[in-house]
Symmetry: C2
Subunit: 375 residues, 2 copies
């Protein structure tokens, strides 16, 4: 194998795939990635790929290939060292003793490689259901839902985002951990295939998809069957296994009759939630919200170590009311709503869930359960 | 107590003193700071102070004082919450039940305070030996030496920087951990008193002094006796206990007959040292340095998990030679030499220490011991 590749292409690609290779103390081979040089008319391409068995990412990049070949080497070492190279190009070659040499100007890294056949290989299959969406919208679908997925393993089927293709060309994304829920509906294009009713994409795969999409501004294709999802963003492919199981029916959780509407400034609300939640030392940050005409007050519990109160002007014309929340849940959802300076909260009573909406984006909703508060 | 103070003044002051108050699980009272409001002509001042028994820091700031008083409250909570206040001013008041209220616009923090008499109080004494220096030069003295002080507790007397007043108006600062040494000599002004031969300022106090000096650009006064050092930077005072013990005589460690001079570009050398040290998984990062006419080569050990090599152009006219170092020690000293794009290394043989100098700054020198290398 003998090739040269632009340093920035190599480093950016490794930044995307290296996090996949990290937790490999039990399976040391998974600390490596595959580097494959192919001859093509006009120069050639290099394909980088890595997998943690659950998720696989690969990318193809233009390169000057003199001798095609393939090698399996440590992702973190190549990333750390090549990032510091002062040259614009990296020359890569391998010898018969399985040593791979990476050179950037006068700097040279030599690494032992692993037998390529030992590295798990995942060829992306043809998957029957598919749609395309622009990268920015897909990023929104991921950001606006994944925060609400469950992080502990008590209920496997909640540890991901449920994706449905429905109504011809619309995609629906839903996540919930039992305490809050987030749902996005977005139009897709080129919808094909007979979709299964729904699939559950693991939370971790959603976050990796987001990382891949940071480098892509064009249309993205998503395809899936009952067991796998494949995302194709230009020359970068991400494949993940899906979570088996049934996603709960969340329709009944979404309140339909919340008649008290509050319009709050998103940044000021985040600021107030932070101020009020600093005082609580638990994971749960209980906060009391009081609504009066055009005023929202947040208060922490009155503890022996102190308390905090904050107020912000809002648009509210309903009756005075008090309701308790876990401040962290409100912070999470307000933090991801980046496309709007204002957020709408719809309430009914102190024991009813709060519906959160984005003005001018009817495709999004979130539900946060109240906390019983006793102060 | 009743006053108002500019939010930024309060937050900046708390950022300086709060790190002192952190590690207080065994002595919970040390998580607090003292806030003292005094009436003065034209408004008043607020004095903030904190101590960890070893080091004390206090600062005085202008404030609108309506009612003088003093309170002892949690530093971290005040910092975290007040930092988020959206107002320009913070109003502070206390009631008879020892509750302190801090208000910024509509945001309000209420904290229980601790009986002021329980908090350790340190009045800065008059210390007989003193000098003044401008803040920038004092920062240099700290930065260019403290990195070389010992971090573990095997030899207490090396866990600080040795300060000597000598030759009328010159100060000398020396630190060593037995493997490397750094020494700075700088002129001082207004030198007074009969100094003891030398004092040892704890490493941690040196770092706190550096943090205080970030906010000061004017002249700084340093005074000391055998047991305490006091630094006065404007209205901010830092007092520290000194390390008792005798600092070793380091004069004999400084090589006098190094006749092989290498002039290296500082940034390129740091870059090469990083590249070469990534491969080693130990705390000690052994690196082999080879010198040839106008060329410096760095190589990591040839390990089964790979090796790295880097080369840089240098000014060197001596004989070819090889010498081993702990790359981390070289990185540390090259990193603090920020006033010069080039660094001079003076060598003799593979087993002799390396002398490091800054061109155009005869007041600095550093010594790094070589490592025996076998590759």
């Amino acid at each position: 194998m003998k090739l040269s590749i632009e340093k920035n292409l190599l480093v950016n690609a490794l930044q995307v795939i290296t996090p996949l290779t990290d937790k490999s103390s039990s399976k040391p081979i998974l600390s490596n990635f595959l580097l494959e040089a192919k001859l093509k008319e006009g120069g050639g391409v290099v394909k980088l790929s890595a997998t943690d068995y659950e998720i696989s990412i690969s990318g193809e990049f233009p390169a000057k290939v003199e001798e095609p070949g393939v090698a399996c080497i440590s992702a973190r070492k190549v990333l750390e060292v090549c990032r510091e190279f002062s040259s614009e190009e990296v020359r890569i070659s391998s010898d018969e003793q399985l040593w791979v040499t990476l050179e950037g100007g006068p700097s040279r890294l030599r690494l032992p490689s692993v037998e390529v056949g030992l590295y798990p290989h995942m060829d992306p299959p043809e998957l029957p259901n598919r749609f395309t969406m622009n990268s920015r919208e897909l990023r929104q679908c991921i950001e606006l839902t994944t925060f609400a997925a469950m992080t502990n393993e008590t209920r496997k089927n909640l540890m991901g985002v449920c994706l449905r293709l429905s109504n011809g060309n619309s995609t629906q994304w839903v996540a919930t951990d039992g305490h809050r829920l987030a749902q996005v509906t977005r139009e897709a294009k080129d919808v094909q295939g007979e979709s299964p009713p729904e699939i559950i994409v693991p939370r971790k795969a959603m976050m990796e998809m987001l990382r891949v999409l940071e480098h892509h501004d064009e249309a993205v294709e998503v395809s899936f069957d009952e067991r796998h999802l494949l995302m194709t963003a230009g020359k970068t492919l991400l494949m993940t296994r899906l979570i088996e199981g049934k996603f709960p029916n969340v329709e009944q959780v979404i309140p339909k009759d919340s008649d008290r509407t509050v319009l709050v400034n998103r940044e000021r609300m985040i600021n107030a939630l932070k101020i009020v939640s600093f005082m609580s030392q638990d994971k749960i940050k209980p906060v009391k919200m009081t609504l009066e005409p055009d005023l929202l007050r947040l208060e922490s519990e009155r503890a022996e170590f102190g308390d905090v109160l904050d107020e912000l002007p809002v648009e509210y014309a309903g009756e005075n009311m008090k309701i308790g929340f876990n401040a962290r849940y409100l912070l999470d959802v307000f933090s991801v709503i980046q496309q709007s300076p204002e957020v709408k909260m719809k309430l009914k009573g102190s024991l009813n869930p709060c519906l959160i909406e984005i003005p001018n984006d009817s495709g999004f909703l979130s539900v946060v359960m109240p906390l019983r508060i006793e102060w």
